[in-house]
């Protein structure tokens, strides 16, 4: 309804948010991958240092600087998140487009696969897949990708069905346009934005699951500088009062996850011409 159009600058604000978050996330990634591993050195004179000016996030029981470890861990998390969400999008795109296009049995099988994946708690499935892959980086990526393709598949499938049965595609077919033309001019413009946004929205789940599964001991091995590893180690020192070991890395992880989902939502807002004018 035109009567309730949105306030000024929503689009501009969304773009500003996207740029800001992209800059922060890229900075964390670059910083993390440029910190050499030996800068996280053992410094036995400065062990269990509470947060302060010299060590913003404090130091751990062998004197390693927690800020450096956290940034390193976050950049690893972001990498894992990117790979996980891209791979689940690929699965979702293949299933979501193939299902309605092939139709019949194939479509039913794909729907049933979605049900099957959702029938067991994600956590259990990721643990099983991770064990099958022998743990580590590969285990996490395959596990998260194997569990997170379902919702996006449903969205893409519904969208493809909608386009297939829509009047403008029917008309296009009557006018004798080729399948290639229809795919390029009608499918791609609708499905691609959904996929981009879907990929970004899977991302926070992916990094949270990565940290969680690693925390349980199924994910990245203990020598990796992952957030899950840091948090899992911190458990041993909680009772002796070293709260900062768990607090700051966790807060940073949550911030990254919130930033990515805000980024996805802003992108959704400016990409979709309909929601672009909603508050």
């Amino acid at each position: 309804m035109k009567l309730f159009r949105l306030q000024k600058g929503t689009r501009e604000r969304a773009i500003a948010r996207i740029v800001l978050f992209l800059v922060i996330l890229t900075a964390v990634m670059i910083a993390g991958s440029h910190i050499p591993l030996d800068s996280i050195y053992v410094d036995l004179e400065n062990i269990n240092h509470p947060p302060g000016l010299t060590h913003l996030f404090g130091t751990d029981w062998v004197g390693r600087d927690m800020l450096t470890r956290t940034v390193k861990g976050l950049s690893l998390s972001i990498w894992v998140g990117i790979i996980c969400s891209l791979s689940s999008t690929v699965i979702a795109a293949v299933f979501g487009i193939l299902g309605p296009t092939l139709g019949g049995k194939a479509d039913a099988v794909i729907s049933w696969l979605v049900d099957l994946t959702l029938s067991v708690p994600h956590t259990i499935l990721i643990i099983l897949v991770s064990i099958a892959c022998g743990g580590g980086f590969k285990g996490i990526v395959v596990g998260v990708a194997a569990t997170h393709w379902t919702s996006l598949t449903r969205i893409i499938r519904a969208e493809v069905i909608r386009i297939h049965t829509s009047e403008y595609v029917m008309i296009s077919k009557r006018f004798g346009k080729s399948r290639r033309f229809i795919a390029l001019h009608h499918m791609v413009p609708h499905v691609v934005p959904q996929m981009v946004v879907g990929t970004i929205l899977v991302f926070p789940h992916a990094i949270l699951h990565e940290a969680s599964i690693t925390f349980l001991g199924f994910g990245l091995p203990p020598h990796e500088p992952a957030i899950g590893v840091i948090l899992s180690e911190s458990m041993k020192y909680l009772t002796s009062g070293q709260w900062w070991l768990a607090f700051f890395p966790g807060v940073c992880l949550i911030c990254v996850s919130i930033m990515v989902s805000a980024l996805g939502k802003s992108l959704e807002q400016i990409m979709d011409p309909v929601t672009a004018y909603k508050k």
Partner: protein
């Protein structure tokens, strides 16, 4: 319980020149809108509206789609969303109404009869929604009265335990009417009561409103259907671009329309199938860009230079009211 009260009332009220039960003067509604993200713009959905309702009389407000009549009922009841601005004056008998006082008489003295079954809570039984209109009596008594009222409109007692989705369109209309009549209201506002009805149901609905009016209620019927309006209304107001252009006796809307004063009313009559079926060129102005002068200026066959820059006020002509400099 009804009739005694009614008779006294009917004696008191004389047909036209008595005191209106409900009156709306210079009434307007506008919404704020941002254009290009920077300029705030007022959308005048209803402007300079005058309405008078009398006991025992039916006033039909007739307007085509886009005239703003869908907001009229909600605006009068004061139930528009928060971003709407309302101005003008409203009177209930002698009392001038404010936003707070209209809330007090809402549902009690002044009742809305909405368009469709969608206005009933889908998960609440019809009976309990009907009996909420009655206050201050025990539950059993409420049910008794509700069923009695439903019987008046030939609704089966078991409808009391139905859910809204089980009602047919006609039944839903009767239920909504029962709710309005069960509350002790004096003013009925019916929002589009007739769309999509076949002839027998239409006759029935119109009969129901006539009956309510004959019992002493003041009825405002908002509709796009002139024919239906002519059949039951005492007076008809022609609604155009958010304002009433002419209020005239219903009888004036018959024959060749020579009784009508405003050029738009005449055009409306001529556009009816049993008349000349003549369409009128042009479109109504949008709420965002109303002309400075007469609202009908663009399409008017008798316009003059004055009409372009100043808007005619409503003035009495031949027992009705007209907004036109040249109508006679």
């Amino acid at each position: 319980m009804y009739t005694a009260d009614m008779e006294t009332r009917q004696k008191k009220s004389s047909p036209e020149d008595g005191m209106p039960v409900f009156q709306v003067m210079n009434f307007g509604v506008s919404f704020s809108q941002y254009e290009n993200g920077i300029n705030r713009k007022e959308l005048h959905v209803i402007t300079d509206l005058d309405i008078e309702l009398y006991e025992g009389k039916i006033l039909a407000v007739v307007g085509s789609s886009g005239s703003g009549k869908s907001l009229l009922a909600h605006a009068i009841m004061g139930i528009l969303p928060g971003n709407a601005t309302i101005y003008g004056k409203m009177f209930y008998r002698h009392e001038e109404l404010t936003r707070a006082s209209i809330a007090r008489i809402r549902g009690k003295k002044i009742c809305l009869i909405p368009q469709s079954v969608n206005y009933l809570d889908p998960l609440e039984k019809v009976g309990s929604q009907i009996s909420r209109a009655i206050n201050g009596v025990p539950k059993a008594e409420k049910k008794r009265r509700a069923i009695e009222m439903m019987a008046r409109y030939s609704l089966d007692p078991q409808v009391y335990d139905y859910y809204p989705h089980q009602l047919s369109g006609g039944m839903a209309r009767k239920v909504l009417l029962s709710i309005a009549l069960l509350s002790d209201c004096e003013i009925l506002i019916a929002d589009e009561p007739t769309p999509g009805l076949d002839e027998p149901s239409l006759a029935e609905v119109l009969q129901d409103f006539r009956l309510a009016a004959d019992e002493g209620k003041a009825v405002l019927m908002i509709t796009h259907d002139i024919q239906a309006a002519v059949r039951i209304a005492d007076r008809i107001a022609v609604f155009y671009a958010g304002s009433t252009l002419e209020v005239a006796d219903a009888k004036a809307f018959s024959g060749d329309g020579s009784q009508l004063c405003h050029p738009y009313s005449k055009a409306l009559l001529q556009a009816m199938p049993q008349q000349d079926f003549l369409p009128l060129d042009g479109v109504q102005p949008m709420p965002g860009d109303l002309p400075e002068g007469c609202l009908f200026y663009e399409r008017c066959p008798i316009r003059c230079e004055d009409c372009r820059c100043s808007r005619p006020q409503s003035r009495p002509v031949r027992g009705g009211k007209v907004r036109c400099f040249y109508a006679a």
